[in-house]
């Protein structure tokens, strides 16, 4: 099967003017401007199969948005090759653009003063969607996201979450085969995030669309993505199953112990993370988990005991900090 998205040795460097603070430096920079090269993306490669939902993770400034912009044809790569659906995105051919969509959680494309229903009509005109198909897709999406009573209100009168749902409907009316979602749930409450997540999943399953998603909310990633690509400082740190990210980068497990006697000191068993009445959580090296569990159960009277993987947020955090340290 040919991959839907293939990126090989992609680099994108920016030349940015640089000056020190202060009036003198400002005047000097008018005449003698110094530039610094920022390697937003530096030699990354990956490929994504049709129908996959892949999470694209990394801290701010890691190069996620830059990569998405190259993939959607907005930026020219400095070097490397990019191919999506058999097209070279940089050429921005209309046939290509008709099959992809870019959604940015922090920017709006729908007109502030128009009701969404009118903006949808404009999308129809731009993409040349046949009327019947358009109406069906639109009404389906409106049902799925429960927007029925809101489509006739001007966008400016909607809440942030409602607006984001409208943005997503507007961006997907032409039923793109490939979705680039840049933090689609940013700033939304948990219920709204969940609704949008469910919609993305539904869209992916119904039309077999390929999705590349960035998010700072691990809940998004856990719910949607089997596979994640982690980038940092423009380099790929990890590309694989989300579950193996946890096994690869997390060498600890968390034990939760409930004791009838809260006075007992457990520090000999592992690092005590929290102590909340009778409930104590311990951090234990993964290799020692079974030994420690057995010891706890034989040494003490235990009401309840749980063993959990380190939360994904902490794993990601440790991935980034560990690479900072090795630098």
């Amino acid at each position: 099967m040919t991959p839907t998205i293939s990126v090989s040795k992609l680099s994108k460097h920016y030349k940015v003017p640089e000056r020190e603070g202060g009036m003198k430096a400002a005047v000097i920079s008018l005449f003698n401007r110094k530039y610094r090269t920022v390697k937003a993306v530096d030699d990354i490669s990956f490929s994504i199969e049709p129908g996959e939902i892949v999470g694209f993770l990394g801290p701010n400034g890691a190069g996620k948005t830059t990569t998405l912009k190259v993939l959607s044809g907005l930026l020219h790569p400095t070097s490397g090759a990019v191919n999506v659906l058999g097209y070279e995105p940089t050429k921005r051919s209309h046939d290509y653009l008709r099959q992809v969509a870019l959604v940015m959680g922090n920017r709006n494309q729908l007109s502030w003063d128009l009701p969404a229903i009118d903006s949808f009509e404009l999308q129809r005109a731009i993409y040349g969607i046949p009327v019947l198909e358009f109406k069906k897709t639109r009404d389906d999406f409106i049902d799925l996201l429960e927007l029925k009573d809101l489509v006739n209100k001007p966008i400016r009168n909607l809440s942030l979450g409602e607006r984001m749902k409208m943005e997503i409907v507007g961006a997907l009316l032409h039923r793109p085969k490939v979705l680039f979602l840049d933090e689609p749930t940013i700033g939304l409450d948990v219920t709204m995030q969940r609704r949008i997540r469910a919609f993305i999943k539904e869209y992916n399953q119904r039309w077999g669309a390929t999705v590349l998603l960035t998010s700072h909310y691990m809940a998004d990633v856990e719910a949607l993505c089997k596979r994640v690509i982690v980038i940092h400082h423009g380099h790929t740190l990890f590309d694989g199953e989300l579950s193996s990210l946890v096994t690869q980068f997390s060498s600890f497990k968390t034990l939760g112990v409930t004791l009838p006697n809260p006075e007992v000191d457990l520090s000999q068993y592992g690092e005590v993370l929290t102590r909340d009445g009778a409930r104590v959580t311990l951090r234990v090296a993964k290799a020692k988990t079974s030994q420690v569990t057995a010891n706890l159960l034989s040494d003490l009277q235990v009401d309840d005991l749980t063993v959990e993987d380190t939360p994904i947020d902490d794993v990601i955090d440790s991935v980034f900090t560990s690479t900072e340290e090795t630098k």
């Binding site: 907005l74 046939d95 009509e121």
Partner: protein, 261 residues
Amino acid sequence: MNPIKLALTYLRIGVLNEMQYRINFFIQLLQSFISVATGLIGLSLVFGQVNTLAGWSRSELLAVMGVHLLMGGVIRSIIQPNMERLMDDVRNGTLDFALTKPADAQTLVSVREFRFWQLVDVIVGMVVISIAFVQLKGTLGILQLLGFLAALIMGGVMLYCVWLMVTSISFWVIRVHEISNLFEGLYAAGRWPVGIYPDWLRTGLTFLVPVAFAVTVPAEALTNRLSGTSLLFALGMTLLFVILSRGLWRLGLSNYSGASS
């Protein structure tokens, strides 16, 4: 996507929405009357002193004023709102959305906005032109009418091109909003035929900001002053402006990388 169909869709939706704000109609009507009134006062002041101004009679100057009003309405209803939105889009990085659409980007950014009520100026301008024409006791031959319309369209296209060029500068210099004020100031000079100005200003108003072509030339067509050569010259200038502005727009686009990465 057919660009005309696209433009008409934007037009229809823009009109439907502006219809909701009827108060704007009355505000605009008031504004138009104020500009007509000040224009008339200016004219009577001038003609209190002289009988002709650089070869233009009072009624002929009324025609110039009418064209100026009409073209001003076109600028404010279509050209200026689209270009101002383009500047905002460049600054906010939302131009990305326009560039990921399967449509010619220049067409798309030029048809998205439409201020319906500003067209009141176009209507008022036409009324003023008609009154001037009646005063002149002129006869409007078919050739004359065609010349007038052609000059008007070419003038409008040239003004659009200049706006687009100036706006394209926002790809390099993010803050260009002040430029629209400058433009308005220069356009105000078009209220009088450019022939009355000193050479340097006339040259500027012809080649830099083509107010001469947008206002004076159509008015010349109406008052039987326009030669075929001038019209041909205007056509040449229009083509030149179209090519230059398209080139600068493309150069700007290739320089654009979004407000943040």
